[in-house]
């Protein structure tokens, strides 16, 4: 077994690692939020008088206390940090109670009296789209939060060419991130006036924008520092940043440090979820197995606020046909405001929904044509030089769908095992099934946003190295990956490199650590910084020792012929003695991407990854209980920087994806999350799972300075349809609604 490397493992395994709620400060106060009891109302009055006089209470904070902007958002500033006049969701926070202890704050928040004028509410996207529907965010002018489309080829031609045309609807549900650590933040205003923020959040720069907007300050006056975070999965963006903004607001208003720690109940009530989708697909196929067209309409429930719905639904648009060549495509995708709890980023980011549909759709089509599902996929899937549905030519990297698919089918012995599937045989007590799914995934942000990142390598006079990047440690091992990349480039042992505690005041905004872009973008910047640093050192050696440094290896610097010129430490001493800083700032600017909103055409992403996963399972014919027997995955990551951690991503993603397929569903009632805590929301436990196999494929990516791509999200986006396909072969039934409901009530 190859040992894992993690710079933070010692602190985490000993319990020394300090997460946001583990910090405290002298004279620290505690804040708690008061959530709205209803999903839609006018807030007529807040009576805080009784709460204000409760023991220990310092202040009750409401929207009118906000010195900056009440509303903020990453794309549309529609989210009230505290509700001012109108309640749109049961996640809305009406007031914050600040007290000497958390218990006192909680006791007082129950004494706040609200006068509400209830309003009609819209709980489905369809209702919200009706012509006379009340506008949820009137300033937006429509309940359509956003719209994307693709018009490729000619849909009429596609219909005419098809031998078989069929329609199928797919639906997915709200899903909870269920990161183990609920949101928390501790803020205090430093003597120099800066609001210092620590928090359980995955986007320090995004958090800084939320805090600065709420306070009405400039970005330079807010410093967000990073501490270990207990899981994010895309979920610690808006809500986590809002928690930080509220803590900062309270710290500013009281002049004391304030901690705002969410209970699990508060977290589940307020935090955004995965978008539920309604997807209406129409597909045409020819007898020779070619797909002639896909027509699809998707509705994504954004809930009461926008969050990143336009970006999530954009990925669904680009990947609406899965990893297949489709000559004629007509795709309409709507993000729709409702009074449900809002939805936002969640590992996969709009792809788990479309893959749930498309990877079942291709199997339905194959069956109609009496072609096996492996053959059908091979006929239609993208290959080297293929043109995607957005007219992007896949030519600048290795298109490895065949390779990952062959790996998985071989490892799990798919061909032989598919012959043994039960298809609901009434003579059996246990039904066996096997299924798989494939995908491609555009890496990083694509045309969603500006995509660049930076790294600073600052070599100390003793030769030890401080490294930092604009990437955030979400628990995935980002810092370790950066250290490994730097160590390899510089030829240094890992022990000589320390990842510096990141701060938004110290390194340029590198964007959010999302979209599986950490290793790709931060690693690219690290590689480039290391190369600049080496050129600085080489120049110094050439000037002062008249030697040409070519290799940096095992703590030595070598010439072309491999002879040692000097040690690393000697070279660094020389730099300092000659007034040269061995300090480098490296940037990785993602190659240009393009997008035309009107046609849905463009080079959506600068590179792509490919994956395949298969699942074997057994269904109890009487009870419907599903037992997972085996799961195998193969993913092309470009280059595995930390193979044990790559495997960890694969296992973790598969498990989250299998849970998505089998039971993860966050039910809402009147717009509110009904599950109060984790006992009412099932996630996978160790006993729910089989042994898994992860097969890493490495086709170095020419667009990536480190050659690595990404792995976090590809691992989650195809497990659920693989499960659904296996369930179909076990039971003979197609389940097009996620999660699969097999058990008899």
């Amino acid at each position: 077994m190859e040992k894992a490397y993690r710079n933070d493992a010692y602190a985490k395994v000993t319990g020394k690692a300090k997460y946001a709620d583990d910090y405290s400060m002298p004279y620290m106060l505690h804040a708690v939020p008061l959530h709205s009891p209803v999903a839609s109302a006018y807030l007529k009055q807040i009576d805080c008088s009784e709460a204000q006089n409760m023991p220990g209470v310092i202040r009750v904070v409401t929207a009118t206390d906000i010195p900056g902007k009440i509303k903020f958002g990453q794309i549309i500033p529609d989210y009230p940090t505290l509700v001012h006049k109108r309640i749109r969701s049961t996640g809305d926070v009406i007031a914050l109670v600040v007290a000497e202890s958390r218990e006192q704050a909680l006791a007082a928040s129950a004494r706040i009296k609200l006068e509400l004028q209830q309003r009609p509410a819209l709980y489905t996207a369809e209702e919200a789209l009706l012509p006379d529907a009340e506008l949820i965010n009137p300033e937006h002018g429509s309940n359509i939060c956003n719209y994307h489309r693709i018009r490729t080829g000619d849909i009429e031609t596609g219909e005419q060419e098809a031998d078989i045309v069929f329609d199928q609807e797919f639906n997915t549900s709200h899903v909870e991130h269920a990161y183990l650590e609920p949101e928390a933040s501790l803020c205090y205003q430093r003597p120099d006036g800066v609001m210092e923020v620590i928090g359980s959040m995955q986007h320090p720069f995004s958090t800084r924008r939320f805090v600065a907007s709420t306070l009405g300050w400039e970005l330079k006056d807010v410093e967000v520092k990073t501490v270990p975070m207990g899981g994010g999965f895309g979920g610690k963006d808006d809500t986590a940043a809002l928690v930080c903004a509220r803590a900062a607001l309270c710290a500013f208003l009281t002049g004391r440090p304030v901690k705002l720690t969410y209970s699990r109940e508060m977290s589940m009530r307020e935090s955004y979820k995965r978008h539920p989708y309604k997807m209406q697909y129409r597909m045409g196929v020819k007898c020779d197995g070619r797909i002639t067209f896909v027509k699809v309409r998707m509705l994504a429930d954004s809930g009461a606020y926008c969050s990143v719905t336009p970006w999530v639904t954009w990925r669904s648009t680009v990947q609406c046909c899965g990893c297949y060549e489709v000559p004629n495509v007509h795709c309409d995708v709507y993000g729709v405001y409702t009074n449900n709890i809002f939805t936002g980023a969640f590992r996969g980011f709009g792809s788990p929904q479309v893959n749930w549909a498309i990877e079942q759709l291709v199997e339905i089509a194959a069956e109609k044509l009496a072609i096996d599902e492996m053959e059908f996929r091979r006929i239609n899937m993208v290959r080297q030089g293929s043109v995607t549905v957005t007219n992007q030519v896949l030519e600048n990297h290795v298109v490895s769908l065949n390779e990952v698919m062959d790996n998985v089918l071989r490892e799990i012995d798919y061909k032989a095992k598919r012959e043994r599937c039960s298809f609901g045989d009434p003579n059996l007590d246990k039904w066996y099934g096997i299924g798989y799914a494939i995908s491609y995934r555009g890496m990083s942000l694509g045309a969603e946003g500006v995509d660049f990142n930076s790294a600073i390598i600052n070599v100390q006079p003793d030769g030890s190295v401080l490294l930092e990047t604009g990437v955030h440690e979400n628990g995935q091992g980002a810092e370790s990956a950066m250290i490994l990349i730097a160590a390899e480039e510089l030829g240094l042992p890992l022990s000589r490199i320390r990842y510096r505690m990141p701060s938004t005041s110290n390194i340029p905004d590198g964007g959010t650590t999302v979209a599986s872009r950490g290793t790709l973008m931060g690693g690219g910047a690290t590689t480039n910084a290391a190369r600049i640093l080496k050129s600085i050192i080489s120049e110094a050696l050439e000037k002062h020792l008249q030697q040409k440094a070519v290799h940096f290896c095992e703590g030595n610097i070598l010439d072309e012929s491999g002879l040692v010129i000097c040690t690393w430490n000697e070279a660094i001493r020389l730099c300092y003695s000659e007034q040269i800083y061995p300090y480098a700032f490296g940037v990785f600017q993602a190659p240009r991407v393009s997008w035309d909103e009107d046609t849905g055409h463009g080079n959506a992403y600068f590179t792509w990854v490919y994956g395949c996963q298969a699942v074997e399972l057994e269904v109890d014919a009487k009870t419907g209980k599903v037992t997972l027997l085996n799961m195998v995955a193969s993913h092309d990551v470009g280059k595995a920087i930390n193979p044990a951690m790559v495997k960890g991503q694969i296992y973790g993603g598969m498990v989250m994806g299998a849970g998505y397929g089998l039971f993860e569903e966050l039910a809402l009632k009147d717009g509110a999350v009904t599950a109060e805590n984790l006992h009412q929301y099932r996630v996978m436990r160790a006993t729910d799972l089989p042994e898994m196999t992860a097969i890493i494929v490495e086709n170095p990516d020419p667009c990536s300075p480190s050659k690595a791509k990404g792995i976090g999200e590809p691992t989650l986006e195809i497990t659920a349809p693989a499960v659904a396909n296996a369930i179909y072969r076990a039971t003979g039934k197609r389940f097009t609604d996620q999660p699969i409901k097999l058990r008899k009530p």
């Binding site: 207990g230 994010g232 973790g652 160790a686």
Partner: protein, 157 residues
């Protein structure tokens, strides 16, 4: 009187109803005990009480009067090195966000004290009460298997 990580504490009357998890974190600064759900279903606050796995958020101090409690801070040697089980977690890649790690380690430790050669199914059973959202548990199970062999090299496989 309660013994926590070999130190003895006398609990004043006004703290008798305090949750053990809160006492560890707030009064002793032992923040390795994590709060994930605070209702005893996630396992992040796991401690050992007289060698048994317990959720410290489900106990108040008077429940553990006279008991010996081990939290994550209590299992490493005093020289700063790691317990073999902790080392196995590090080496096997069993740690990602790390929030479940202290509880996982303690649940696994209780298992290994009873069963020196647990099967993978037995390991999974022992960790059933500890949620992990990052790893898919696979490398955690690997770690416990490895640790069993390091901790008890002479037991038969």
């Amino acid at each position: 009187m309660i013994i926590i990580n070999t130190k003895t504490y006398t609990i004043p009357e006004d703290l008798q109803d305090k949750k053990l998890s809160a006492f560890l974190r707030e009064d002793l600064g032992l923040t390795g005990t994590k709060i994930g759900c605070d209702i005893g279903v996630c396992g992040s606050c796991t401690v050992l009480v007289n060698g048994e796995v317990k959720r410290s958020c489900r106990l108040i101090l008077k429940d553990v009067e006279g008991c010996e409690i081990v939290s994550i801070e209590g299992i490493s040697p005093s020289d700063g090195s790691l317990h073999p089980l902790q080392q196995a977690f590090v080496d096997a890649g069993a740690i990602q966000c790390g929030f479940c790690t202290p509880g996982m380690v303690l649940s696994a430790l209780a298992l290994l004290m009873q069963n020196h050669r647990p099967s993978r199914a037995e390991i999974r059973q022992a960790l059933k009460g500890n949620l992990c959202r990052c790893t898919g548990y696979q490398q955690i199970v690997d770690a416990v298997e490895i640790a069993a062999k390091t901790m008890y090299p002479n037991d038969n496989d």
